[in-house]
Amino acid sequence: MPRLSAWFVRAALLYLALGLTLGMLLLWNKGVLISPSIWQLLPAHIEFLLLGWTVQLALGVAFWILPRWQTQRGDVRPAWVAFVLLNFGIWCVVLTPWLTLPYWVLSLGRSCEAVAAAAFALHAWPRVKPWVESN
């Protein structure tokens, strides 16, 4: 798979491990109480698994398998921008409540995630084409 897909997929696997670890603590706490404050991990659990795992894996695999032009994937720069912004955004969203950061950091994180989606769409849009087309 291409280098960027490998980055996306490895990051997705790390988020899966992180998200499941938080999920395990949350569910354990539901069955047998460890600490009431564990419930505060819920937003991070959701963020890691929805954006970090499923969305990021989908983007990585899409970058790998969507139709190409001969061997070329077109302008890959927006896809790299998407990778950086998505991951920056996830950590802004997760760390804001944990470190009691200013609320604008949460907005910045969500904005980065939205721009990442738009950047990836910009890259992928022309690659969504009939497979018989050769150029």
Partner: protein
């Protein structure tokens, strides 16, 4: 498609049906008040969908389609793949049973069953990550 992939995908499809069925049940007001277990199905609905359907489908297809680990072991360690399947699904089933029961009638037994469900699903996920990580290769 390898046998374990077929098993993952068929189980994922069954989970999708069960999740959406749970989604229907929790919208029927007289039922949720008459049967407290049904009223406590919301987390089960969501996790049958996200773990049983979305994640399990990804796991099955990734095992099948990702780059080969080696010529001798193209799909990595089969033991880890089987461990992923059983740990994930036994954990999920245990959760489906125990979590609503604990919500409507808290008992230490249900509580520890939920802890076991949490650990089993977590270990299943880690087994998948461990088996898939070396197959993510740049070509």
């Amino acid at each position: 498609m390898p046998p374990i992939t077929r098993l993952f995908i068929k189980t994922a499809l069954a989970c999708l049906v069960l999740a959406l069925l749970a989604g229907v049940l929790i919208t029927i007001r007289p039922l949720t008040t008459a049967v407290p277990y049904v009223g406590a199905l919301a987390p089960v609905y969501f996790h049958l969908f996200m773990v049983g359907w979305v994640t399990q489908l990804i796991v099955g297809v990734a095992y099948w389609m990702f780059p080969k680990f080696s010529k001798q072991q193209p799909r990595g360690h089969d033991g880890l793949a089987w461990a992923t399947y059983w740990l994930l699904n036994i954990g999920l089933l245990l959760r489906v049973l125990a979590e609503p029961l604990q919500a409507v009638n808290p008992q230490p037994g249900w509580g520890w069953a939920i802890v076991a469900a949490a650990l089993l699903q977590w270990l299943g996920g880690l087994a998948f990550v461990a088996n898939t990580w070396p197959r993510v290769k740049v070509k």
